[in-house]
């Protein structure tokens, strides 16, 4: 075990997986010479050569589109999108091909590619360095989506994504890239996709979150000293660990879902719908959402007002307890 930051854990996963499987390759803007603008791919080009850690032209649709062809040629490409919002040019390929190609081949061909990117706000950056685009990805059939919140999960989930036979999109919480540290198993470390993590056990209310909202929920749980709060880290949005969600809802009877992305059609809405369909008799109050607002992510001087806060989460919990 080593104490690593999230971005170091991701880098560690790459070193292990590129060593283990010669068909794994990394491609993206500035991933090679610079080792990635966040240094997630540092050292790979030196160790594995410029073809297995390839600096692409500046073209996100090209990166993802060529990854499809690379899969057909027997590679397992891991694509980096430099930032959340800069992944948008790749959505054309993602929606029209990545999610459909296996289906189109009658299941004969697999597309074991990964798209990973830093996501989320709170980093005092210029416009379009702050988005939470998970809905666009998770809404696309044929694509799996995972969002880790801890260094250990960042390594284990990326490893699982690389080994997965289907396309997986991994969003990484850039707010905590360097600041959140934790124990990370050495060598091969797999966190299976589709399994939630109980970040904290409690009896009165469940906070459901993923990515950078998990530490926030834990802070809110600390503040709510008189309430027994359970924090469920969803980890994989698709496939979803419904059992864990329903079990926690059954246990506490109260659920608040916390999501940084705008509210309308966000992933919280999906979770709430599942609870409405399958847990209605377990619930002692409405499922509440604390989310970003339905606005373009704001100027950074007032970005904190956009981000779900401990205060907004605790207010939602109190409201639910008073229901």
């Amino acid at each position: 075990m080593a104490e690593l930051s999230i971005v170091e854990a991701i880098n560690d996963a790459f070193h292990v997986e590129l060593e283990r499987d010669p068909s794994v390759m990394v491609l993206g803007e500035d991933v090679g010479r610079a080792g990635g603008v966040f240094r997630a791919t540092a050292g790979l080009r030196d160790k594995f050569g410029p073809d297995r850690c390839f600096d692409t032209p500046l073209a996100e649709a090209g990166i993802l589109g060529s990854a499809i062809g690379l899969c057909m040629a027997g590679w397992r490409p891991v694509c980096e999108m430099q930032y959340d919002a800069f992944s948008y040019p790749c959505l054309d390929q993602l929606i029209t091909h990545v999610g459909r190609y296996r289906w189109r081949t009658g299941g004969k061909m697999s597309f074991p590619l990964v798209v990973r990117m830093p996501y989320g706000g709170g980093v005092r950056a210029p416009e379009l360095h702050d988005d939470s685009p998970e809905t666009y990805y998770v809404h696309t059939p044929g694509v799996k989506v995972a969002i880790p919140s801890t260094p250990s999960d960042a390594k284990g989930i990326l490893t699982a994504a690389i080994r997965d036979p289907d396309p997986v999109v991994v969003l990484e919480p850039k707010l905590h890239y360097r600041t959140l540290k934790g124990e990370v198993p050495d060598g091969e470390h797999v966190v299976p996709l589709g399994k939630a993590r109980l970040a904290r056990e409690g009896d009165d209310v469940t906070l459901v979150a993923y990515g950078s909202m998990v530490p926030l929920c834990e802070q809110a749980a600390d503040v709510l000293e008189d309430v027994s709060v359970e924090v469920l880290d969803i980890r994989t949005l698709k496939p979803l660990d419904e059992d864990a969600l329903l079990a926690s809802a059954a246990k506490t009877g109260r659920v608040v879902i916390v999501q940084e992305a705008p509210r309308v059609c966000g992933f919280a809405a999906e979770l709430a719908a599942i609870l409405a369909e399958k847990a209605i008799l377990d619930l002692r109050g409405p499922v509440l959402r604390v989310t970003g607002y339905d606005v373009p992510y704001p100027y950074w001087q007032i970005e904190d007002a956009y981000m779900p806060s401990v205060e907004r989460v605790t207010a939602a919990v109190r409201k639910l307890l008073d229901f």
């Binding site: 600096d55 032209p57 500046l58 919002a85 001087q301 907004r312």
Partner: protein, 354 residues
Amino acid sequence: MAQVLPAERDLRRVIGDADGAGDREVDGLGEQELLELYRSMVLLRTYDERSVVYHRQGRIGTYAIFWNHEAMQAGVVHALDDADWIFPSYRESAIGLLRGMPPTTVLSWWRGHPAGWWNPADYNVASICVPIATHVPHAAGLAWGKKLKGERACAVAFFGDGATSEGSFHEGANFAAVTGAPLILLCNNNQWAISTPLEAQTRAETLADKAIGYGMPGVRVDGTDVLACYEAAREAVARGRAGEGPTFIEALSYRSAPHATADDPRAYIDLDRVEEERKRECVGRFEGYLRRAGILHDDLAESIRVEAADAMRAGIAAAEAEPPADVSLVFEHAYVDPPSTFGSDLDELRRTLG
């Protein structure tokens, strides 16, 4: 049908220090215009150098440095009329200064303060475009739209060498060509896209060669020679106004500073090369030209520098004196008729802010 010319491979120059060809004069540029051009370059240079300092002092956020890009920015803008539109990328964040925008506005943008978001129609300068190349079709559409209305305005889109790899660049360039839009595609070829060198970006011999494929002229200029940039842009504007469609201008320079304040180029760049390039930086080159022509002397140069420094001092003071943005702004400006949820969202936000 416009004739498709092969791209000019030779770099156009007017300032004669680089190849020993001697200084040329540019028709129609008198002493007054040359000094205006110089003033613009010094203003941009001062903006840039002060911004790097302000960033270090924590007074602005992450900042994209444009040191040694002033010549192409000033040269092109001076070739335009005020009715012509400019579509900047983050690398041209302060280009509005050449249209009378106060430095405070741009500083506020880099401070993440709403006062930094201007009305494009006030200056005919579009918003700063952060996602690479996505503004190229906007500029094509503006130029096309003006043409359809019978107006004589042109547009210029500034984008980098890396941007030529994006689909949006291709689509915008092709649209401009097909519609005969009076557009200048101003490619700032500083030979780097963050850590990615030009040779990893394209196998085209020159970026101007790309113009051939779109059926428009491609011109290569020394991007650190302000007069060459001016001259090429003026010709492109004349073509545009004459209904001959878009022109691609490759302005060749070298990124002699980090990509942005957050970047550390030591990992990928040859620092000796950077030192060499810095010796030929564009403001100094133009200053040399003006001095050789007897137009600029020490006192005048000094007073122009002082004027720019004063503007920046006033600019940062005013930016820092902006009242803090109210959180209600989170819900402003995205819609003419905002969804009804915004009211209750703001109430909830205010309650939890205490």
